[in-house]
């Protein structure tokens, strides 16, 4: 067998050799010798990961645009450029593998984190790892059925989400649940949003591009006050904000913005589109308003055809 004293190669050459290896091989090397750790981190820190507890999968993304999935299944299988971990306890093994990737690669960018529709206890250890390794998560989707208020608060306050936080319809919160966001992502989608109060909406308006709330406790009066403040030019920090909200107390029983409900255009072809930072948003059959600063916004509310109230800044 031909042998090569690899560790006697100059660092830059060694790095070139290691760049030729796939992420799975790099992990094997990391376990071979501690002396290889700095070199593996030098290459691995450019990797990105995604964790999907629903599909029981971790993906590694390398700078050359390739994707290296690790599947955690109860059956054995084979696929090129993929790794299969035969397991009866996927969450535990996902945790172990994620720990190894974060430790040995030193990467900190998570593209996507999706939870499984099981208990929050499956999600918590993953979040702890991501927080411990100071990861930033681009997109998060929570979809577990059983939540514990305090555990969920801990998760929301510690996880640094940059682009999108989506909390699915399955996630039921206790009636007395209260939480104030520490990190505001660009997009915030919450299906059971009874705990989001107007002060949070004002904060989000200054930081988010879009928030979408369903099953909200907000009322026509709240929306009216929001629009009056905008009209008077008191929400100057708000840029490119799109707010859509739906709830029992947002209805046609009272006026909003001194207008009878519905607020809609009679022109069926009326469409307002906005393209910002590559994200496209559309409001159909909306009515355009201007505030004292000349800033334009489109508003649409047409219950029961469309039960969600929409407000989108156009400038």
């Amino acid at each position: 067998m031909s042998r090569i004293p690899l560790l006697r190669l100059p660092d830059l050459v060694l790095e070139e050799v290691f760049k030729e290896l796939d992420p799975f091989k790099l992990i094997e090397f990391a376990k071979c010798s501690k002396r290889l750790h700095p070199m593996i981190r030098r290459i691995g820190k450019k990797f990105e990961l995604s964790v999907d507890l629903y599909c029981k999968q971790i993906n590694i993304y390398t700078p050359d645009g390739r994707q290296w999935p690790v599947y955690f299944y109860s059956l054995e299988s084979e696929q090129e450029n993929a790794k299969f971990v035969k397991t009866k306890c996927p969450t535990r093994d996902i945790c172990i593998h994620l720990f190894e990737f974060l430790l040995y690669f030193g990467c900190y960018k998570i593209r996507h984190f999706e939870t499984c529709p099981e208990t929050i206890w499956n999600t918590s250890p993953i979040v702890k790892l991501l927080v411990y390794f100071k990861c930033t998560v681009r997109n998060v989707t929570f979809r577990m059925y059983k939540t514990e208020g305090d555990v969920f608060k801990e998760i929301l306050s510690s996880l640094k989400v940059t682009d999108m936080l989506s909390i699915g319809a399955a996630v039921e919160f206790p009636p007395d649940f209260e939480f104030k966001f520490v990190f505001y992502p660009k997009f915030l989608y919450i299906q059971n949003s009874h705990w989001i109060k107007m002060d949070q909406v004002y904060k989000a308006a200054n930081r988010c591009l879009k928030i979408s709330l369903k099953k909200s406790q907000l009322t026509n009066e709240h929306l009216d006050r929001f629009l009056q403040r905008w009209q008077a030019g008191k929400l100057r920090k708000m840029k490119m904000f799109y707010f859509t909200v739906q709830g029992k107390q947002i209805n046609k029983k009272s006026t909003i913005f001194d207008m009878e409900i519905p607020i809609k255009s009679e022109d069926d072809k009326c469409v307002h589109k906005r393209d910002h930072e590559g994200y496209q948003e559309t409001v159909r059959k909306g009515v355009v308003f201007k505030n004292v600063d000349g800033q334009r916004a489109v508003i649409h509310f047409d219950p029961p055809t469309s039960s969600a109230f929409s407000f989108m800044l156009l400038d």
Binding site: I4, L9, R35, L36
Partner: protein, 188 residues
């Protein structure tokens, strides 16, 4: 001193009276340089082939040798074995003036020489060849178990590393103690 010489192109360009637009540019006679390794065997290589090496290319640009001066003063690479330098020269000649393909089938097949070749190529700064060599080194462990990898790439275990470190510390301690004792003896 022996030498391996490549063919030269010495066609003297005839000066055209009226150059048609489609006529090829007059050929400039190619210049040659000379290199030798540890074994002192001199290799004659064209400037075109040597362009692959950033190190030699830089040396040529700075020295401005005539052909005679170049012949009288071959570039010495005493840290490179003769057979390794021969491989490098062969590769440079094969790829003279050609775009380098993504996969190179002209690489030396002897894995035993690969380590020395990588070091030489790195020293001579031949980027494309270094990339190919690194790929070859990486290929050596494809489909191998961690234990086989450790064996092939001669990677010591952490326990072996620790033992070697302890041994080195012990030796350094002993040497320091010996020096102190010698210094004390001198003082008396």
């Amino acid at each position: 001193m022996s030498s391996t010489e490549q063919g030269t192109s010495s066609a003297a360009p005839a000066e055209p009276t009226t150059a048609p637009e489609s006529a090829a540019a007059p050929e400039v006679p190619e210049s040659f340089y000379y290199v030798h390794g540890k074994d002192k065997v001199v290799h004659k290589v064209s400037a075109g082939a040597l362009q692959h090496s950033a190190l030699i290319h830089g040396m040529i640009s700075n020295l401005g040798y005539t052909e005679e001066q170049a012949k009288a003063n071959p570039f010495p690479f005493e840290n490179i074995d003769g057979d390794i330098l021969q491989m490098v020269v062969d590769w440079c000649n094969q790829h003279k003036g050609k775009p380098t393909p993504p996969e190179d089938t002209n690489l030396p097949k002897q894995k035993e020489k690969l380590f020395d070749l990588v070091l030489a190529v790195n020293y001579l700064e031949i980027k494309e060849l270094l990339t190919y060599c690194c790929k070859q080194v990486a290929m050596m462990v494809k489909g191998k178990s961690p234990e086989e990898i450790r064996e092939i790439w001669m990677i010591p275990t952490d326990a072996e590393d620790e033992a070697a470190e302890k041994e080195a510390k012990k030796r350094a301690g002993k040497e320091a103690a010996g020096e102190t004792a010698a210094a004390a003896g001198d003082a008396k």
